[in-house]
C-alpha cells in the first residue's frame, strides 16, 4: 500500500484529519478556538519550514499574515462575507505580494534575508497604524462568515469554520509534504548546504527559493485570513507587528523542520503554553513563553519532532 506518494506521514495526517472532523462536534468551545488558532499559525509555520529547509529564516512573515488577514477583513467591509471568497482573496493577495517581493528577496541569504523581510513587514505595520480608515491601532471587526450561502449561527459558526479550515489545511499540508519529496523539493537541503553545487547540477537556486517564498507567502495569507475570521477582529499589533513574526519563527523552532506534521503540533503546543500562561499568570505569560523557547533551544535543538524521531530510531546517535 505504501507507494511513492503514500507514506507514513500522509497516512498519519489523514487519520488525524478524520479524527479531528469527528472531534469537531464534541470539542468544548475553547478547545476548538485553540485548535483553529493552531491551524492558522501552523499553516504559516509550514511556509517557514519550507523556507528553513533551504537555510532561510524570515523575521517578517507577519507581512503576509497581516496582509491576508486585512485583505479578508476588508472584503467584509464592502459586504462580502463568504468564507471561501475571503480565504481566496487573503491567500491570493499575499501570494501576489510574495511573488513580487520574491524577485528582490531571492537574492539574499542569512541574516539579510531575515531583516529585509522584517523591514517589509514593518512597512505594512506602519501603513496600517497610520490608516484611520482601517481603525489605526484598534483595528476593526470582521463580519461572521457564511459558507456558500449557509449562514450558521452561534456555536455552529466556529464548528463550520473549524471544518472548513481543517479541510484546507489538510490539503495544503499534504501538498507541502509531496512537494518536499519531488526533485525540486529535495533540492531544498542542497541549497542550504552548498548553493554553488546546486547551480552546477543545472538548477537555479534563486528559482528554487522563489518558489518556496511564494508558497510561504500563500500559506501565511491563508493563515491570516483564517485568523481574521476565527477572532472576528483584525488589529495591527496581533497581526502585523514584528513580535508576531517572532512567534512564527518560535513555532518553527519548537516544531523542528523534520516533518510537515510537526508544525501543527508545534503550533498547538505554542497555543497551549500561551493560553495557560495567560490564564494562570497573566502578568508573566511572556516570561513563560520566552522561558520555554530558551529551554527548547538549549535542550531540544531539533524541536519536538526530534522526540518522535528518537523514539523511532533509539539506537541511532542524534545528528550532529
Amino acid at each position: 500500500m505504501r507507494s511513492k506518494y503514500i507514506d507514513n506521514t500522509v497516512i498519519g495526517l489523514s487519520i488525524a484529519f478524520v479524527v479531528l472532523i469527528f472531534a469537531d462536534f464534541f470539542m468544548a468551545e475553547w478547545v476548538r478556538f485553540i485548535g483553529l488558532q493552531s491551524l492558522a499559525r501552523g499553516a504559516v509555520a509550514l511556509g517557514l519550514l519550507i523556507l528553513w529547509r533551504s537555510g532561510l529564516v524570515s523575521f517578517g512573515h507577519a507581512l503576509y499574515f497581516g496582509f491576508g488577514a486585512y485583505a479578508a477583513a476588508m472584503m467584509t467591509l464592502i459586504g462580502y462575507r463568504d468564507a471561501f471568497l475571503l480565504v481566496f482573496v487573503g491567500t491570493a493577495v499575499a501570494g501576489i505580494l510574495a511573488f513580487l517581493l520574491g524577485f528582490l528577496l531571492r537574492r539574499y541569504r542569512g541574516i539579510f534575508f531575515a531583516l529585509l523581510n522584517l523591514a517589509f513587514s514593518m512597512i505594512l505595520y506602519g501603513v496600517i497604524v497610520k490608516t484611520e480608515a482601517l481603525g489605526s491601532t484598534d483595528g476593526f471587526s470582521v463580519l461572521t462568515p457564511t459558507f456558500l450561502g449557509y449562514a450558521p449561527k452561534g456555536e455552529a459558526v466556529q464548528t463550520t469554520l473549524f471544518l472548513f479550515t481543517l479541510a484546507f489545511t489538510y490539503i495544503i499540508t499534504i501538498g507541502a509534504h509531496l512537494y518536499l519529496k519531488t526533485t525540486l523539493g529535495g533540492m531544498s537541503m542542497a541549497v542550504r548546504e552548498n548553493e554553488i553545487r546546486v547551480e552546477y547540477l543545472g538548477y537555479s537556486a534563486e528559482r528554487i527559493i522563489h518558489v518556496k517564498y511564494v508558497f510561504s507567502g500563500l500559506v501565511a495569507g491563508f493563515g491570516g485570513a483564517i485568523m481574521a475570521m476565527a477572532i472576528g477582529q483584525v488589529d495591527p499589533d496581533s497581526m502585523a507587528n514584528w513580535t508576531v513574526s517572532g512567534e512564527f519563527v518560535f513555532i518553527t523552532i519548537l516544531s523542528g523542520i523534520g516533518n510537515v506534521a510537526a508544525t501543527f503540533i508545534g503550533a498547538l503546543v505554542f497555543e497551549l503554553i500561551r493560553t495557560y500562561a495567560f490564564e494562570y499568570a497573566p502578568q508573566f505569560w511572556q516570561f513563560i513563553l520566552g522561558g520555554s523557547l530558551l529551554a527548547i533551544i538549549m535542550f531540544l535543538p531539533e524541536g519536538i519532532w526530534s522526540l518522535v524521531a528518537r523514539l523511532r530510531r533509539p539506537q541511532k546517535a542524534p545528528s550532529p
Binding site: 539574499y108 542569512g110 539579510f112 523591514a119 506602519g126 523552532i253 520566552g290 522561558g291
Partner: protein, 298 residues
C-alpha cells in the same frame, strides 16, 4: 525656514537618541556576530533604573546637578549586570549554533526580561522630569527647545568619539579589531577571545542601557518602550552596515532626520519612511552603507 530649523534640531536630537541605542547593537554584532534582540530590554531596564535612581536622588538634599550621576550610574549597573549574566549564562553556549537560532534565543531573553521588568516595577508609568526641568529651555530662532534634549546630541558625539578613540588608539581597541577581523587567528595569536567577547557584550549593554537611562527624563517610562526601540535600532544598524560604527552614525542621521521631516511634513508616513529607507538601502546594498567588504566563502 522655521520649519527647517525645527526639522533639523528635532532630527538631530532623534538621531542622537537612535545612535545611542544602535551603537551598542552594532558593536555587539561586529564582534560577536550576534543580532541581540535583548538590547531592547537593556534599554528599557536602563530607563526604569534611571527613573528610580533619579527619583531616589531628589528625595535627598544633595546638590541638584548630581541627578546626572544617577543616570550614568543606572546605565552602568544595568549594563554590567545584564551584560555579564546574559553572556556568561546564555550566549556562550550558543556561539557555535546557527545565527538565526541565536537571534531567536535573544528574542526569548527579551520576552523574559520584559516580564521581569513588570515584576520589579509594575505597570504604572514612572516620571523623572527633574534633570530636564533643571536645565530649562532655550530659544533658537524664535523657537523654544528644551536644553536637556540638546545635551543628548553632545552625549552622542562624546560616545562616538570615545568609541573611535578607544578602538583605534588603545591596545584594547586593536585587540578588538583583530578579533572582529578573524576570530580564529586572533585566538591562535594568544588573544583571550572569551574575555574580549564578554567585555564587548558588557560595553554594548551599557550603551543600550545608557540610551534608555538618558532618555528617561524626557518620556513617561512605561511598559512596552523596549519593543518600539529595538526595531528602530535594527533599521539604523542595517542601513549603516552591521558592525560598523561610522555606519551607525550615518544610519541614525538618515533615519532621525527623515523621520523628523516626515513628522513635520507628512505625519501619516512617519513609521513607513524609516522602513522604506531600510528596504531601499538593503535592496541596493544588502550589506548596508558602511559594512566592510567580505570575501565569499565557497
Amino acid at each position: 525656514m522655521q520649519q527647517l530649523i525645527v526639522i533639523l534640531v528635532d532630527g538631530l536630537v532623534f538621531s542622537s537618541y537612535l545612535f545611542m541605542v544602535a551603537v551598542g547593537l552594532t558593536v555587539i554584532f561586529g564582534v560577536l556576530k550576534i543580532l541581540n534582540v535583548a538590547h531592547g530590554a537593556f534599554y528599557a531596564f536602563g530607563a526604569y533604573m534611571s527613573a528610580t535612581l533619579i527619583g531616589a536622588y531628589y528625595e535627598t538634599d544633595l546638590p541638584e546637578y548630581g541627578g546626572f550621576v544617577a543616570i550614568f550610574a543606572a546605565a552602568l549597573i544595568v549594563g554590567v549586570f545584564f551584560g555579564f549574566v546574559l553572556e556568561r549564562g546564555l550566549l556562550r553556549f550558543l556561539y557555535h549554533r546557527d545565527e538565526h537560532i541565536v537571534v531567536l534565543a535573544t528574542f526569548a531573553m527579551f520576552l523574559v526580561l520584559e516580564d521581569v521588568l513588570l515584576m520589579i516595577w509594575g505597570t504604572d508609568p514612572y516620571f523623572a522630569y527633574q534633570p530636564m526641568a533643571l536645565l530649562g529651555s532655550v530659544d533658537i530662532a524664535d523657537l523654544t527647545f528644551d536644553v536637556y534634549s540638546l545635551t543628548l546630541i553632545g552625549l552622542a558625539v562624546i560616545v562616538a568619539l570615545g568609541l573611535w578613540l578607544g578602538l583605534t588608539q588603545t591596545k584594547w581597541g586593536k585587540l578588538l579589531l583583530a578579533v572582529i577581523y578573524d576570530r580564529e587567528i586572533s585566538q591562535a595569536m594568544g588573544i583571550n577571545v572569551t574575555v574580549v567577547f564578554l567585555a564587548t557584550f558588557i560595553i554594548g549593554a551599557i550603551m543600550g542601557a545608557l540610551g534608555g537611562a538618558y532618555i528617561a527624563p524626557t518620556i513617561s517610562v512605561s511598559p512596552g518602550i523596549g519593543v518600539e526601540v529595538i526595531v528602530l535600532a535594527f533599521a539604523v544598524v542595517v542601513i549603516g552596515g552591521m558592525g560598523s560604527i561610522p555606519g551607525a552614525i550615518i544610519g541614525s542621521l538618515l533615519v532621525g532626520i527623515s523621520r523628523a521631516a516626515a513628522v513635520h511634513l507628512f505625519p501619516e508616513i512617519e513609521l513607513f519612511v524609516i522602513y522604506a529607507i531600510m528596504a531601499g538601502v538593503l535592496a541596493i546594498r544588502p550589506e548596508g552603507l558602511f559594512a566592510p567588504a567580505q570575501a565569499r566563502k565557497i
